[in-house]
């Protein structure tokens, strides 16, 4: 059974049709890269998966469980959505760390709140220990007590990745994780994502880093004007069946 099944997702903002009949599946441990020019709908798709936008039509299943169906109003209730979000993690382009908390507190805050609210029995100590392990994995062992403004963009983004992983999502999503970074800082972030891929973390990555997408992905989706224009293994999409729109897009990206 696929870990994620997306069926016919559609989304409009007012009169503008942003997503049209988007369908795909994802197997556990796969990495899916979504590429495409600005305005092609890739970020909106990611935001729909994380319920930051509610699709107008279509359905979303995780491990066979119905998370969302446009015809089923129960799946739109706020409390339901809050829980279902936890299947997905999202790493933002602009990190969106909480500035008043240290790196470690950023990673542990939501888990601590959840343990307290739902009496999961997790001790604060255990949550903190786990948070530390995640930050060590991100190569930030000496940055745990720093506040976001004391960190470089690349370090902030790695804290954000640790923060998303702390909630143990089934699928970790990245929205152009290196677009806001200085070129010399992207390497460390991409390496962390590559390590996660090697450890079979299921991921969906919206990116402009074509070489990285080719290297890390099991599958690639090329989006154009709100539809899936091409889909397949990196080899297939880039080399075997490059459609004209993709060639044009790659030309612009590479320049």
């Amino acid at each position: 059974m696929p870990i994620l099944e997306v069926n016919n997702i559609g989304k409009s903002f007012g009169e503008t049709r942003v997503l049209e009949n988007i369908s795909f599946t994802l197997e556990e441990g796969e990495v899916l890269s979504i590429i495409g020019s600005s305005g092609s709908g890739k970020t909106t798709l990611l935001r729909c998966l994380n319920f930051l936008e509610i699709p107008d039509q279509g359905s979303i299943y995780v491990r066979g469980n119905k998370l969302f169906c446009s015809e089923d109003p129960i799946t739109r209730s706020e409390e339901e959505i809050r829980r279902k979000r936890l299947h997905f993690g999202l790493v933002f382009q602009n990190f969106n760390l909480f500035p008043q908390y240290t790196a470690l507190e950023n990673v542990t805050l939501a888990r601590k709140l959840m343990a307290k609210a739902e009496k999961t029995g997790e001790t604060e100590q255990a949550i903190i220990e786990e948070g530390k392990q995640l930050l060590i994995k991100m190569g930030l062992e000496d940055r745990m007590e720093n506040y976001p403004h004391q960190l470089s963009g690349g370090q902030q983004q790695r804290v954000a990745i640790a923060r998303a992983l702390a909630m143990k999502p089934d699928i970790l999503c990245f929205d152009e994780p290196t677009s806001a970074l200085d070129p010399e800082l992207t390497g460390a972030v991409l390496k962390v994502i590559k390590d996660l891929a090697d450890q079979k973390t299921t991921m969906i990555i919206v990116t402009h880093e074509i070489d990285f997408a080719r290297d890390v992905s099991s599958r690639v989706i090329f989006m154009d004007r709100g539809v899936v224009a091409q889909e397949g293994t990196p080899q297939y999409v880039f080399d075997e069946a490059p459609i004209p729109r993709l060639a044009e897009f790659l030309g612009q990206v590479k320049r």
């Binding site: 809050r82 909480f98 008043q100 939501a110 976001p148 403004h149």
Partner: protein, 214 residues
């Protein structure tokens, strides 16, 4: 009459100014936050109502509002006069809550939407996001404009004398009228300067305390 007696009497009356100051903050700040949520409500009639109230309160003099709160209920509905101090406090709380609400609203609306979204994708509830993520950042942003309001409030407290609450300036005016002494009135400036000076130090301290994050 010796100067020390006069000064003591003035200081006694200044407790009234101090009381108005603290009660206005204590009740006006939470009420201001509630009004702020009203003026940001997605429910249009509530939003329109709140904004109208804020317009009326901010658009008329506080001195007039104190008079209306004190005499209005009696003149319009034949109700019994409430104690002078209660009337002054009520008018001050409502007036300042409206100003505070606009500062809260500005602070909340200036928050980048990404902060809320980051909380949402981590499965936090709206309440948790407001209290654990947004609030402290909003407070940090609104310390300077709030400081302005606090210092204005220090001086506005003397408006309570319009309905014969004997605060420090009213007392000093009585010395001028009955004893022909003008210096007590002038000397009240020292009281206001000390109060606003202490407040400035406190606000600077708060700003410094909150400077550990950006």
């Amino acid at each position: 009459m010796s100067a020390s007696v006069i000064i003591n009497r003035l200081l006694e009356c200044s407790w009234l100014n101090i009381e108005i100051f603290f009660v206005t903050l204590l009740l006006g700040l939470p009420l201001g936050l509630i009004i702020a949520f009203g003026s940001m409500s997605k429910f249009a009639p509530l939003r329109a109502f709140t904004q109208t109230v804020v317009w009326i309160i901010r658009g008329t003099p506080l001195m007039l509002q104190v008079i209306i709160v004190y005499y209005g209920p009696g003149l319009m509905f034949g109700m019994k006069l409430m104690p002078r101090m209660d009337a002054a406090l009520l008018a001050f709380v409502i007036n300042y809550a409206c100003y505070f609400s606009e500062i809260f609203r500005g602070g909340i609306q200036s928050m980048p939407v990404g902060q809320r979204e980051a909380g949402e994708v981590l499965g936090m509830t709206k309440r948790q996001i407001f209290f654990k993520v947004t609030l402290l950042q909003v407070i940090k942003r609104i310390v300077p404009p709030m400081g302005n309001e606090f210092i204005t409030l220090v001086k506005d407290t003397s408006l309570a004398r319009i309905i014969a609450n004997k605060e420090i300036i009213m007392m000093a005016q009585e010395y001028a009228a009955s004893n022909g002494l003008i210096w007590p009135l002038f000397s009240t400036a020292v009281f206001f300067l000390i109060a606003s000076g202490l407040l400035t130090l406190l606000l600077n301290y708060a700003e410094k305390k909150l400077s550990y994050f950006n």
